[in-house]
């Protein structure tokens, strides 16, 4: 079945456009997630966003508003909890997420059509996206990418050298918050396509794959966006062909690209070099130069 036939129906074409946009956006944002070592946090963010999205849908307000508000609340709660004695960060995140997630499930279960809606939020339902969703995705995506472009050098410096950034007079914390909000926006935008549980995969995998092929940052972002969009298209095509869940298939394609690159990529792949043992230490011989002496 040719690609043209697979995407013959209008719903499929809408889904295709959504997949391309979401994939590209996630890829680009994912590079920053990796730079700051935030995969677990992004996963948590995806989980935490869920009740906010549910609440927003139930209240009939914008999903972004609901998700953003709830995400902010979660971040604050986690920070407050983690600051207490005997509550470490992981436990704080664990408790907050469990509570938030259960709350979301409770809210949904009190409605009819529980299973269907729940599934859509959790693993996506890209084939039901409407034109309105496409417009939202396009606008949010453009805004996020524009912000990333405008703040590129500050964000990169902040990832490698927070002290240096602060020393130059930049508001480091504010920039952190901005980035977190951009990630949050990306996660929420991905929900129609891949759902909250899988959003982290589409954000992290293409970027991780791109990192295996190139070291230059801008090239990595471009490559990640391309890989993300490609995963979207291929995944969607396969899912339409075989009639399986689209979001999950997209994620599997992205993961497959990563797995293959992990093995074959020149210089960084497993075949190209031996895995590093531990933290490499560059040893230099001291100026003393003498061999070991046994005094006395």
């Amino acid at each position: 079945m040719s690609l043209l036939e697979v995407f013959g129906d209008s719903f499929a074409r809408r889904a295709l456009l959504e997949a391309v946009m979401v994939g590209g956006l996630c890829g680009a944002v994912g590079v920053h997630v990796l730079l700051r070592r935030l995969p677990f946090f992004t996963m948590a963010l995806g989980h935490a966003t869920f009740p906010g999205v549910v609440l927003a849908a139930l209240l009939g307000i914008s999903l972004f508003a609901g998700a953003a508000a709830f995400g902010a609340v979660v971040v604050v709660v986690v920070a407050l909890l983690g600051a207490r004695d005997r509550v470490d960060d992981t436990s704080a995140v664990g408790v907050t997420l469990s509570g938030a997630f259960a709350l979301g499930v409770l809210l949904l279960s009190a409605q009819a059509g529980f299973s269907r809606d729940l599934t859509a939020y959790l693993v996506g339902s890209i084939i039901t996206v409407q034109v309105g969703d496409l417009v939202t995705t396009a606008l949010v995506g453009a805004a996020v990418l524009a912000a990333l472009a405008a703040l590129h050098k500050e964000l990169v410096l902040g990832a490698f050298d927070r002290g240096g950034l602060a020393a130059l007079g930049y508001p480091v914390l504010a920039l952190d918050v901005v980035l977190l909000l951009l990630i949050e926006a990306t996660v929420v935008t991905s929900i129609p396509a891949v759902g909250t549980i899988l959003a982290v995969a589409l954000i992290v995998a293409p970027a991780a794959t791109a990192r295996l092929w190139t070291e230059r940052l801008r090239a990595t972002m471009a490559l990640a966006a391309v890989l993300g969009a490609t995963s979207g298209v291929v995944g969607l095509a396969i899912s339409l062909q075989w009639r399986v869940a689209a979001g999950a298939t997209i994620v599997l394609v992205a993961a497959a690209l990563f797995a293959v690159s992990l093995v074959v990529a020149p210089r960084h792949g497993l075949l190209a070099r031996r895995p590093a043992a531990l933290v490499p230490v560059a040893a230099t011989r001291t100026a003393a130069g003498q061999g070991p002496t046994r005094a006395g």
């Binding site: 995969p39 664990g94 409770l106 279960s109 299973s115 599934t119 999950a248």
Partner: protein, 287 residues
């Protein structure tokens, strides 16, 4: 609201027995998870066990068996990866988890009743627990309790001071594997009752609450078991009463989790008071 009346009905009795055992079991294992900050491992397991559950369901086998197979596999994988952490491994782990999960979703999506099945696997169906499920849970609980009792001092040593443990000759990797397997077993036992997504709450929340109030591992464990069981009972009772009296369907598993988080918040509020009382009782001693 009557918290005892719902349990005159047989299916509620079974559900109660299940959540009491699960709550205590998860609480006990949760102590080590919280002390070692392993919540991520627990979360990982809930993602990777899912395809096992789906495959078992599609093959018409016991869900627990499917979960067990994938749970053991994951525990082994995670133990291996855990000791080689470097930059980029968080990414690899996240990708691995979501791939497993996606595999499960893809497989189940081929069937009719996709969304209903997915919901059951993710959130459980504690009210549909039958006697076989209960027996399976009891067996798992017995195994886990035995291993915990036998290896207790070594597991606590490794949690407290891994360097000293290694220096004394303990293979910390093997101890880690044992703990990961125990966590996997708890997830497996909980799959039918509360589903893979909510089980992490059973593991982490009671133990995190107990940690706030206990100064010894033994006390922490006892308290975690108690809180876990109490959460199960209260959650079931409340969800039943609300559904019946106020015609508001509340998912049982989710209610249990919300109750547990509530208990945690109470513990968090009480903890500073308790510490102040304790400090007043202990006389100042010279170094």
């Amino acid at each position: 609201m009557n918290l005892f009346e719902p349990f005159t009905i047989p299916y509620m009795q079974r559900a109660l027995a299940e959540v009491l055992v699960l709550g205590a079991l998860a609480g006990a294992v949760g102590v080590l998870v919280v002390l070692r900050r392993l919540a991520f491992v627990g979360d990982a397991l809930t993602h990777t066990v899912f395809p096992g559950v789906v495959i078992a369901h599609l093959l018409g086998r016991s869900l627990m068996a499917g979960a067990l197979a994938f749970g053991v596999l994951t525990a082994v994988l995670l133990t291996g990866l855990g000791s080689h952490r470097r930059v980029g491994d968080d990414a690899a782990l996240a990708i691995l988890l979501t791939s497993f999960f996606s595999l499960g979703v893809v497989l189940i999506s081929r069937t009719r009743g996709f969304t209903a099945d997915l919901t059951v696997f993710l959130f459980g169906r504690v009210l549909a627990i039958d006697r076989t499920d209960l027996v399976q849970t009891l067996v798992v609980a017995a195994v886990v309790a035995l291993v915990l009792a036998v290896l207790h001092k070594e597991l606590v040593l490794r949690a407290f001071d891994p360097e000293a443990a290694a220096a004394m000759g303990y293979r910390t990797r093997r101890l880690d594997l044992v703990l990961n397997l125990l966590i996997a077993l708890v997830v497996v036992a909980a799959v039918e009752a509360v589903g893979t997504v909510l089980v992490i709450a059973l593991i982490v929340v009671p133990a995190a609450a107990a940690r706030l109030l206990a100064d010894r591992v033994a006390a922490m464990t006892a308290l975690a078991c108690l809180l876990g069981a109490a959460g199960g009972w209260l959650g079931l009772a409340i969800s039943y009463e609300v559904s019946v009296d106020h015609d508001l369907r509340l998912a049982a598993g989710a209610t249990i989790v919300v109750v547990l988080v509530g208990l945690f918040l109470v513990a968090a509020a009480v903890a500073p008071l308790r510490r102040r009382l304790a400090r007043d009782r202990v006389p100042a001693v010279a170094p």
